[in-house]
Amino acid sequence: MGREDVKVVSFWASLFGRRVEWALKLKGIQYEYIEEDISNKSSLLLNLNPVHKKVPVLLHHQKPIIESCLILEYIDETWMHNPLLPPQPHQKALARFWSKFADETMVDAAWMAMCFSGNEKESALKVGRESMQRIEDEIRGKKFFGGDDIGYLDIALGWISYWLPVWEQVGSFQILDPLKFPAIIAWITNFLNHPVITDSLPPRNELLLYYQRIRSQLSST
């Protein structure tokens, strides 16, 4: 394979951006990483993603692809070795369904549990825990969501293994109860121990400081 022109525009703490890097690394695709300061968005980002103005952006031969899960699909369809999505149509539909569910429901709930207090926090926790139960039911009996190896859904849910525990610490709450969700806890260990993932995580203490800053900024507004 010749030298491909692949760039990733992202922010070091972004859980969405990390998905893209994991996928590229799992496929052995070389890429150039471009760090974006999301508190001071560059004209590059605004040109690449004028509609949402967000990271990550994948640039392949200078063409931008946006939205982390869509980028995962693009990567899988462009570099077809080591497939991320299951080939069987119903399994593929399920993987897409659960990643959409998690992005629409769980990320927000966990974020709100971290940032807010009182009733808002309690509502968010309820949603977070109910959603986590569904994910527990999906992973039970499997090493990874993708089967024997990491797949699309593992990557999409990867934030649960690393970002969620940080948010729990920052926001003083617990969703990941090992007694309630033993299968997820086991999956977290497997996921974080995977050689590609273990080498591609932001430093935990910096992540913690970053979200602590965010939380205190939100409380003071």
Partner: protein
């Protein structure tokens, strides 16, 4: 029985734009299916069993396996009934662009459309209408760059983004009727106006696209049943 020959059921309701997506996709592939309409105001046991997470239509039941979420259903249909016409574009980049705009419509544009009828006061209504207009301007521009001079987002044929966007046309006409304002027309969005005509006339769309008058009547029933503010 091969995968393509198993029984196909679609749980849905005629007014739903999301259900319409599934019906158009099935029509494009000439798939025979049983259309099981949910009664407005209640959810059948089959729906609750097939989509326990969201309890929403559409649900495609193929053999005994349910597929939920309209865009996921469209992709499933395209994959299972893989003979032409293809619904998704063939090139990964074009797929990414089509999926991007479909997600934009569902996540940003349609929520504004849904909120217009329930808007509290003229200012909120105006702001939402403006959001809709801005979104349509984006789609007009997307249409020109994606279609490259051909009639549909999918080129010569109706494709994924045509279906994802076209399903909203009926309800868009309802909003225009209630507000007395044109949002998608030859003056404001000439490309889309032509596209909309071609889309609605398409063989796979015409038999299932709800008539605007019927949607208006349905909308009035919905508004009458809505709790007072």
């Amino acid at each position: 029985m091969s995968k393509g020959e198993e029984e196909v059921k679609l749980l849905g309701a005629w007014p739903s734009p999301f259900v319409l997506r599934a019906r158009i996709a099935l029509n494009m592939k000439s798939v025979r299916y049983e259309f099981l309409q949910e009664t407005f105001g209640s959810k059948s046991q089959l729906l609750l069993q097939s989509n326990p997470v969201h309890k929403k239509i559409p649900v495609l039941i193929h053999g005994d396996k349910p597929v939920c979420e309209s865009l996921i259903i469209v992709e499933y249909i395209d994959q299972v009934w893989s003979s032409p016409p293809s619904i998704l574009p063939s090139h990964p980049y074009d797929r990414a662009v089509a999926r991007f705009w479909a997600a934009y419509l569902d996540e940003k544009w349609f929520p504004a459309m849904k909120s217009v009828q329930g808007a509290k006061g003229e200012e909120e209504r105006k702001a939402l209408m403006q959001q809709l207009e801005e979104g349509l301007a984006l789609m007009e521009s997307a249409y020109h760059s994606v279609s490259k001079g051909k009639p549909f987002f999918g080129g010569d044929r109706v494709g994924y983004l045509d279906i994802a966007f076209g399903c909203y046309l009926g309800w868009l006409r309802v909003i225009e009727s209630f507000s007395g304002l044109k949002l998608l027309d030859h003056a404001k969005t000439p490309g889309l106006a032509q596209w909309a005509q071609a889309f609605c006339a398409h063989d796979a769309v015409k038999p299932v696209m709800p008539e605007t008058d019927k949607l208006i009547e349905f909308a009035k029933v919905l508004m009458a049943k809505a709790p007072p503010k």
